[in-house]
Symmetry: C2
């Protein structure tokens, strides 16, 4: 957490069923090419002609770029105000539609589940769903994952019954 | 696929149990900061002092950066020689340990499962496991996912029994 940042969301504030719109982002062709050149240099992300001949029908963003853009929205519009401690991983990552230059991508975040962390009384876990849609209302990305948040009021110490995966960013 | 690129791996060449080392990458502090500034501006990825006070114990790469680096190795050492058609998604994504500047990350790719795609006789599906380890032999990243590859010898047309998720990069 940033020194002096205003914490608005502690673990207790994240209740199953809560759903939030987390802003939007619109990648340019230049950004799509820059990301793909660095991390995913496949022809349908780099070469407009090869992309037209591909199943995607045109130059489209790397799925890894789309997910990274979702993370940026998540940080700017939620995690920057939350007592966040990172995440052990993700499930059910689905790239549902290609993302083209100029598409406007909006992120929605829904809390699916919540529980205390047995091994750390000052931390709670929350399972969230991320859904990104384009300007036509088509879902382009779906993800689920557990995240860790500090508790406003740490609970009683409970002996860890299960060894939990350590956080790693 | 790139015009004129040499295809070495068609769907038929990817057999359950096959395992390949796909090279290594070593992120610098500058690269970690550049990625985090763009996509994951949380203090433990941006500010060495905040990172020392965090659960990670020091400035570490965004998990989204680590996965993107894994994808680059996958493209350079495998997909660039494969009749690859993209992937519908990922499962069991686990960030197991933090990645620090100068860590040397090696990727191993294992084929877990293989089956024809019912709806497209020219395409086969393969379920793969990605494992990235650091120079100390610690696993830092685990992922699994289905990918689509063109078949060298398309099978008989089979009426689609299940509507499969479309590929999207």
């Amino acid at each position: 957490m940033q020194a002096g940042k205003q914490i608005r969301y502690w673990w207790e504030d994240l209740r199953p069923g809560d759903s939030r719109e987390l802003g939007s982002v619109s990648p340019t062709a230049e950004q799509i090419l820059a990301f793909a050149s660095q991390f995913d240099p496949q022809p349908f992300h780099l070469d407009p002609e090869a992309a037209r001949a591909s199943v995607f029908g045109g130059l489209c963003a790397s799925g890894w770029h789309t997910r990274s853009m979702a993370m940026r929205l998540m940080v700017d519009h939620f995690l920057s105000q939350a007592a966040s401690l990172g995440s052990p991983g993700l499930e059910n990552v689905r790239w549902l539609k290609p993302v083209f230059p100029g598409d406007v991508l909006s992120l929605r975040h829904t809390i699916l589940e919540s529980r205390p962390m047995n091994s750390r009384p000052d931390v709670g876990l929350v399972r969230t769903q991320w859904e990104m849609s384009n300007q036509r209302g088509d879902k382009v990305l779906h993800m689920e994952g557990w995240s860790m948040f500090r508790r406003r009021e740490p609970g009683a110490v409970v002996a860890p019954a299960v060894v939990e995966a350590p956080p790693a960013g």
